[in-house]
Amino acid sequence: MVQESFDVERIRKDFPVLSRELPGGRPLVYLDSGNSSQKPVQVIDAMRDHLSLHYSNVGRAHHALGAESTEAYEAARDKVAAFVGAPAREEIIFTKNASEAINLVAYAFGNPLNTDPRFRVGPGDEIVVTEMEHHSNIVPWQFATQRTGATLRWFGVTDEGRLNLDDLDELINERTKIVAVAHQSNVLGTVNPIAAIVARARQVGALVLVDASQSVPHKPVNVAELGADFVAFTGHKMVGPSGIGVLWGRAELLDAMPPFLGGGEMIEAVWMDHSTFAPIPHKFEAGTPPIVEAVGLAAAVDYLTEVGMPAIQDWEHHLTGYALAALSEIPELRLIGPRDLDSRGGTISFTLRNRAGDPIHPHDVGQILDDVFGVAVRVGHHCARPLHLRFGIPATTRASLYLYNTTDELDALVRGLHHVQKVFG
């Protein structure tokens, strides 16, 4: 089995924070990587080295440091392109996070500056999302429909936490301009059937944006194979720094789209009364880009590639199976999301009651886990409030796993939950 050859202890040594003691002598058990991942020393050092010795602005500079910094920044684009199998490096746009990447696409729709019919939207047109989306893949589309008079529609979610595709052919129809869907849910762990959605979208000529914020960090993702038109993800969830996200898009579409943010570096020529724009990717990178963040992201991509994305996927699969089994032994725990390991990642959300059957608020679960055991989980609606409304609950507790987690840590989680039940017994 692959996971037996996975040297998690060696990996843990790369992440300084994992050796840290929390106040009160608690060890850190970090089960909140779905929120943001920790960083290996390779990433931290690459950033420090760049800031110390090679930093300057990029593109526009004609001196030695400018050349070094530009080389590092553009090499990061090459690395990210290769990491996700982008057919062309120009198709990788660096944004500040996944949210900006999605907004960039959403603002193309119904933009008065747009000239391409695919982004022309008005009353009668439809935009389709799903009930399990992160707010970052809902709110930009609400704005787009509010701006244009188009209608927002969405796929429902089954009790098991899967996308309900019964209405596929009705929901995605000739009026649909774009379908925006998560590759993997940040609450349920569910991996969605992108191929089926893309196939239907192709039939009716709709575009597809995949929010891969929760998949790219955890398994091999190839944007060409995925078949979508746009794919968004974010550096800080894939052992990279905050301050950088990625939009991949088909070159032909990115070329056709109107610019979004205006400013330095995204132009070809500027007169007082009009401007012409640089080719992609620069057209969408206004102002000074996240330079040292790109350097950090490149180091992150190198790190993940070195460990091996298939190995990471297998390890997380192993951990997820272990966690699901261990948690199922707590009768008062209700899993929100698939129980089986098929098409599911290592994001595990649940509600908890005490032995007497009274609900324990997730805030309290999370706080006791942290206070007493140093177990860091996320509690709340995880920026997916509509999904929680769908399940009739205000909040869940979520453990989300990554390459550096161990079965010991999952045991600590389970011990912690038993203690929570006692405290609020």
């Binding site: 009160g24 608690r26 997730p362 805030h363 706080q367 206070d371 007493v372 609606h381 609020f424």
Partner: protein, 144 residues
């Protein structure tokens, strides 16, 4: 560890044995406040007689912090003057919004000092303040 903890004994005590819980009559004003980010809810009634807080009664649902905060509020406010109680609310708000940097005035806050640890968790601050903001709102309405 408990010293490091946000969960002072006192908070758990109030959560498990809430003081003054339940909606009572008579009252001058009733308000209903919701924290949309986490679904915590509270209904609060206030009865004011001659500048004195005759009763604070409430019902709601939420995490231990929000429930305990309502209970502590009841203890501190009921029986004092409106003015005194609003001074406590102000000091409590200052403490909670101080991001862990504010030195609380124990003389003013009494038991409510136990919530000092909450101030470091912005996501929990609203839980602790829910009942207190509802109270302030209710008092303003009842004296209008």
């Amino acid at each position: 560890m408990i010293a490091e903890s946000m969960y002072q004994e006192l908070i758990l005590e109030h959560y498990k044995h809430p003081q003054g819980r339940g909606l009572r009559e008579p009252y001058d004003a009733e308000v209903h406040h919701v924290n949309p980010t986490c679904g915590d809810e509270i209904t609060m009634r206030v009865k004011v007689d001659d500048g004195k807080v005759a009763d604070v009664s409430y019902d709601g649902q939420g995490c231990s912090i929000s429930q305990a905060a309502a209970s502590v509020l009841h203890e501190l406010a009921a029986g004092t003057t409106v003015e005194e109680s609003l001074a406590v609310v102000d000091e409590f708000t200052r403490l909670l919004q101080g991001r862990g940097q504010v030195e609380p005035d124990e003389d003013v806050l009494g038991d409510a000092v136990a919530f000092a640890g909450v101030a470091k968790f912005p996501a929990r601050v609203k839980c602790a303040l829910l009942a207190w903001m509802a109270y302030k709102d209710a008092v303003v309405r009842s004296t209008r």
